[in-house]
Amino acid sequence: MRKGTIQNRDQFLNHIAHRLGRERKQDVRIPEWEFQPQWQVYHDKSADELYTLFKKNSEEKGTYVVETTKEKLGETMESIMAAYGPGSMVATKDRRFEEYGLHDVLTKNNVHVWDKSLGDENIEAAKEASIGFLFSDVSLAESGTITQFNDSDIARSVSLLPVTYAAIVPKSSIVPRLTQATEKIQKQVEDGEDISSYINFISGPSNSADIEMNIVVGVHGPVKAAHIVVMDA
Amino acid sequence: MKISLFVTCLGELFYQNPAKDMVEVLERLGCEIDFPQGQICCGQPAFNSGYRKEAQKAAKQMITSFESSEYIVAPSGSCAGMFKEYPGLFREDPVWQEKAQKAADKTYEFTQFIVNVLKMEDVGAVFPAKATYHTSCHMMRLLKETDSPFKLLKNVKGLELLPLANSYDCCGFGGTFSIKMVPISEQMVDEKIRHVEDTGAEVLITADGGCLMNIKGRMDRKGKPIEVKHIAQILNSRV
């Protein structure tokens, strides 16, 4: 690991402590918050209900949602390729593609699977691609959001550069909202694990309302999005 | 029920008829009213302009004048709201802060008092007209009173109350704002008047002397035919 550096810190923080009228704090305990409404949201929803909400909220953001099974996932992916093609495709290097038996589908359809040893070639492939395939690690019912814990294999470019991102969403990955996802990350932090350098919560195609507050879909990120929900739970 | 009237400086100087209407309505509802002679002004003009010492002077005068009152009732959401600011105004003076808190706790705006303390929603008023209601910011946001005027107006016979677009936007009064920032205040009151005109109402009702003075003053200047009335005038109407 590279070595980090910190400049000017003591002087800066001493000044803050001085302004706050006290010595520097060495240890602060986070209080038990009096208000924690986040835990109440969808807390009593079943897996089916959460899926229904995930679907509704994905569609609200303009994301196409398709339901499939583990067995038919390959077929469904090919139907997505037909619908959002033609053109080249990329996928993250994710062991789940193997686990779900998708190796053949990727090979047959010439999907470029991220290979870090190829360096920039990957980025070029993603840039030219019409579809990027990836798995959602945690999926948020409240907002139709998928999550990527990106690293050098599960590359961030796959959900960013192609015209369409197509996320495979195991139904079992759907949780009520961001609260459960951040709780999971927080647990990693508390356990002393190194968290992913790029944790990305993505909710549909990129968009902007900067011109006269008109919503335009498709700015610098994907123009379209598809969530392929695998009914595994 | 014994109550003390805080008529407000605007009420005393300019809006004596609404003040009288308020007295008559409250008496009809069974209140015994007194008028503490020491009262002058809640101090808001100084408070809002950053003149804290001067505001404290005014506030002390009011707190003392109403010290023995059970309830303080005012025909203005903004002035009643100012009483709620008193404890903060004396944040560095625990003795006065306590007195201020007592004054704040027993202060009500006129309609708020009728609905929440007297528990009355129909005061037997009759006022056949098409009207709309202007919500005062201070009454709504400082006093947190939004429903009472509507509950009372709903029971006024013959009154057709029309919804006002952008009712949540300030009319541009804001105390000294109205003379410090004239061009901005002008745009705000003009927009308010446009929305009032769009309702087709013949009468604009409000529960705040400041807003009334501002909107009416501008309407009169522009020769608008819409009448502006204080809610006490409506509630005391029997025709």
């Binding site: 980090g4 011109i211 | 002077k57």
Partner: protein
């Protein structure tokens, strides 16, 4: 350019704004449009429970964080550096810019891409980089448009180009960037996409602001919609994040609450399209992702609010909810404030950062209607802070003399019943020469300001106290 917008005095800026019909229409339309969306996503959204509880949660998190700011900044930067990141604490805008220039020089950077950031605008970073020969590309659509116009400044902290309409935008891009399309937002957006694609890929440095630092993991969270922040943070080998020193939360649990408050309050979204969380890269072997990550923590005058009545102004999460409900902003727009921070929060923050000499009028540009306080997702008592500024302004001797005298008289008049009695008796007599019918059209003295645009009511002829006494004795009224 930094924080200040324009050189004209306040009232001239207001006059300019009031002449600009398109701008004013667009502000009103934006406010009206956003209002419904925001309400639907906040107090009216039953699925998230009581919005007031969320606000209270936000307030307690922000309060705790600011009260322990030194601790959390130490934690954040320890963790950031532990992962290999480089931290620079900058007391002033100049220090921040010098550091950023130095990084750019070391990297021999020619091209810099930027995601939207208010703090970089505040410190005037673009100019500093241009000074040393870097080309800086704004990539947020609104900032891209403003940059094309050359010298145009943000008029809103969330939608900086709110004051421009689509045909103005088309004309600007046609003139400055060779755009040949129509004024359709889709077409303009697609043009920006194509123009910037390669720029993103070829930039030497990517620069972002910071919505929230997460102290316990040394991460930076970016809350965005367009995907440009992702482009900026994915392809350049060097990344710089500039953060206002107060923009952090203790852990991911608090980040959750703040992201919800920000997304819903700013644009009425349940969550923005991207919530991107960056922590310095552990390994060097990724094809995308920066190799070097710098975090510049800026004070820039913020510490002046610490330990004072204005500390809660630092709780701000820059959602612009207060701006979007402000009736003054509605009519004068952003530029009239003369600061990149406009609306109620701008009127509170700008004098803290830039002083009363420059921004002393802003706290008066409010009718104290408190719509801002009601809208703020972290419960900053904005209208109260405006009053506190006014108090300071008066105490520090900035207020004009005639006002001081008038207020002194007010203090005496409102604490001396005998004087007030005389006034109520004397008012009708005094006012008589000015009264026509029932009102005064041309008032004397300070009343002149009122009667410039309105009638002033004529003092009633009757003495209310006298009436009340007689009434109690059983008298009737005649009016």
């Amino acid at each position: 350019m930094a924080m200040k917008i324009g050189e004209k005095p306040f009232f001239d800026r207001v006059d300019d704004a009031l002449q600009d019909d398109f701008m004013r229409e667009s502000m009103a339309r934006a406010q009206d449009g956003l209002r419904g969306k925001k309400i639907a996503a906040t107090e009216a959204d039953e699925e998230i429970g009581d919005w007031e509880d969320w606000r209270s949660a936000g307030e307690e998190i922000r309060r705790h964080t600011l009260e322990n700011l030194d601790y959390y900044l130490e934690l954040l930067t320890d963790n950031f550096a532990r992962r290999g990141g480089h931290v620079f604490f900058a007391e002033t805008a100049e220090e921040a810019n010098e550091y950023i220039q130095q990084v750019a020089k070391e990297k021999n950077a020619k091209s810099v891409t930027k995601a939207k950031s208010m703090v970089t605008e505040e410190i005037g970073m673009n100019e500093a980089l241009e000074e040393i020969g870097c080309q800086v590309y704004e990539t947020d659509l609104a900032e891209y448009i403003l940059q094309a116009e050359e010298g145009d400044r943000p008029s809103h902290i969330v939608v900086p180009s709110l004051h421009k309409n689509k045909s103005q935008i088309r004309d600007t891009l046609a003139e400055k960037a060779g755009y040949t399309g129509t004024d359709k937002p889709e077409e303009i957006t697609s043009f920006a996409r194509s123009q910037l694609r390669d720029v993103f890929m070829n930039a030497d440095i990517g620069i972002t602001g910071c919505n929230f630092g997460v102290a316990e993991s040394g991460s930076v969270a970016l809350v965005t919609n367009e995907g440009n922040a992702n482009m900026v943070t994915s392809f350049p080998k060097t990344q710089i994040t500039v953060m206002g020193m107060e923009r952090l939360v203790p852990t991911w649990k608090e980040l959750d609450v703040m992201v919800n408050l920000l997304s819903r309050s700013a644009v009425g979204q349940k969550i923005t399209t991207y919530v991107t969380n960056l922590t310095p890269e552990l390994e060097d072997d990724s094809a995308d992702g920066s190799k070097e990550f710098h975090l510049v923590v800026v004070d820039g005058g913020r510490s002046k609010a610490l330990g004072t009545e204005f500390q809660s102004a630092l709780h701000c999460i820059r959602c612009a909810a207060c701006v979007n409900v402000c009736p003054v902003y509605r009519h004068i727009g952003g530029h009239a404030y003369g600061s990149i921070y406009q609306g109620p929060i701008g009127a509170v923050l700008s004098p803290i950062l830039g002083g009363y000499e420059e921004y002393g009028e802003l706290p008066y540009a409010s009718s104290l209607c408190a719509a801002c306080t009601e809208a703020c997702p972290v419960k900053i008592p904005l209208h109260e802070l405006l009053i506190r500024h006014r108090e300071n302004y008066v105490e520090q001797g900035y207020a004009d003399k005639s006002e001081k005298l008038a207020m002194k008289a007010f203090g005496i008049g409102t604490s001396t019943p005998s004087l007030f009695k005389m006034a109520t008796k004397g008012a009708p007599v005094f006012a008589k020469p000015f009264v026509k019918e029932d009102s005064i059209s041309k008032g004397p003295g300070p009343m002149k300001l009122w009667t410039r645009i309105r009638e002033f009511p004529a003092p009633g002829n009757e003495n209310f106290r006298k009436w009340f006494m007689e009434h109690k004795k059983g008298g009737s009224r005649d009016a």
